[in-house]
């Protein structure tokens, strides 16, 4: 009900903060970066304002914001220590950073992303009170939405079967295993921005928390496993993570014993969103979507490894 007011008021807030930061603001490069049910993001010159998902806990967001603020070498540093409230939504303010060009996947900064994750995962102790990373919860949410479709298409069956084969922790039905490593929780190429000096930083603290660090590597791993990401780019990402001393996978040898379950979960999450989207648009899955659904279908024939849980 307040979504109509949210966008103009968030825009006004961004403008006000921008003008506080730079009184001679040129008011250039302003506009809406995202306006979805779960997030609205606007930009005014060098300032960005984000309205977080409607169900966000104020206490948890404050903890996540503080955790990001303590790692300016990894995360974009928020403007201000606490979220503001606007039309029932929590709002945070950030300096603008240049995103990866979505039209140029070849420009993806795989090495920089891997180094930032290794730095994050190497933090000796996660900040006290920080909640669990929300990776499995997001996957479960995508599957819930797929299940809620009135007319489930044939493509839904292999996706739900693969989901049922995952261990409970990966479905957000049991606590995360492991010793509690600080994780981003939702890494993809939209979560990287470049500072004016050229350095890359991670953005989006909504899923940040304590958990299984392999989850942060598992999306590129899943894209590779689905046959969509070339082996060279996966090797660049994994190699840079290992070179930076990232602890999620063994320093050498086969990384799949720890990546397998998170990569399956993220493949299922991606497939669930793709099938839901295709149904919403009244069409069949396209070639790329089918590759992800096919990977889900193959999972049922190969149970996940029984070995030690990641992080243990």
């Amino acid at each position: 009900m307040t979504r109509d007011l949210l966008l103009p008021d968030l825009t006004a807030h961004a403008r006000r903060i921008a003008h506080t930061r730079a009184p001679a603001c040129p008011c250039a490069s302003t506009g809406t970066l995202a306006h979805r049910p779960d997030a609205t993001v606007v930009r005014h010159a060098d300032t960005v304002a984000k309205a977080h998902p409607p169900d966000t806990s104020p206490a948890q967001l404050a903890l996540r914001l503080a955790a990001a603020a303590r790692r300016p070498d990894v995360f974009l540093t928020p403007l201000g220590p606490a979220p503001a409230a606007l039309h029932g939504r929590l709002v945070t303010f950030w300096p603008y950073g240049t995103p990866v060009d979505p039209d140029d996947p070849d420009a993806a900064p795989w090495e920089a992303a891997a180094r930032l994750l290794a730095l994050l995962h190497r933090a000796p102790v996660a900040p006290e009170g920080l909640p669990a990373m929300r990776g499995p919860a997001k996957a479960a949410h995508a599957v819930t939405r797929l299940r809620a479709l009135a007319d489930a298409p044939p493509a839904a069956a292999p996706v739900l079967r693969a989901w049922a084969g995952l261990p409970a922790w990966a479905r957000a039905e049991a606590p995360l295993p492991g010793t509690g490593v600080l994780c981003h929780g939702d890494l993809h190429l939209g979560q990287l921005v470049r500072l004016p000096d050229g350095a890359w930083r991670l953005i989006d603290v909504d899923d940040l928390g304590v958990g299984v660090p392999a989850w942060d590597l598992a999306r590129p791993a899943a894209w590779y496993a689905c046959g969509l990401l070339p082996a060279e780019e996966w090797a660049r990402f994994l190699g840079a993570y290992r070179a930076a001393g990232g602890p999620a996978v063994p320093a050498d040898g086969d990384p799949w014993p720890v990546l397998d379950v998170p990569a399956r979960a993220l493949t299922v999450q991606t497939a669930a969103r793709m099938v839901t989207k295709a149904v919403g648009e009244g069409r069949r899955p396209d070639e790329v979507e089918q590759a992800v659904i096919d990977a889900c279908a193959r999972m049922s024939a190969v149970p996940p490894p029984e070995g030690p849980e990641p992080g243990k």
């Binding site: 190429l189 689905c226 969509l228 082996a231 990546l259």
Partner: protein, 94 residues
């Protein structure tokens, strides 16, 4: 034509393009020049389950780890996906 062994008449049959003479008395089979080779070739085509898999393509990066057991076979064909709208969307969304 008579059977060279028992002199009974021989009958001609055509099997998969190969002409065979069989004796109506002793059931002996007479093959013309090259017909045994033709039958052997036909037999090997029939019993062979599938052509052998081509050797694996050499990896551009020797250090590249293998995909998991449920992964797609990687052969370089996926590069066609990179201009696909869904591929770009997937890389940039949750």
């Amino acid at each position: 034509m008579q059977c060279p062994k028992c002199r009974a008449p021989m009958h001609t049959y055509n099997r998969n393009g190969v002409q065979i003479e069989q004796c109506s008395g002793c059931r002996g089979i007479f093959l013309d020049y090259g017909e045994l080779e033709s039958l052997t070739r036909l037999e090997s085509q029939w019993s062979q389950p599938a052509p052998p898999a081509p050797p694996a393509a050499p990896q551009a990066y020797p250090a590249a780890p293998q995909p998991p057991a449920w992964g797609a076979p990687h052969g370089g064909h996926h590069h066609g996906h990179r201009r696909h709208k869904s591929f770009g969307h997937m890389l940039f969304s949750s």
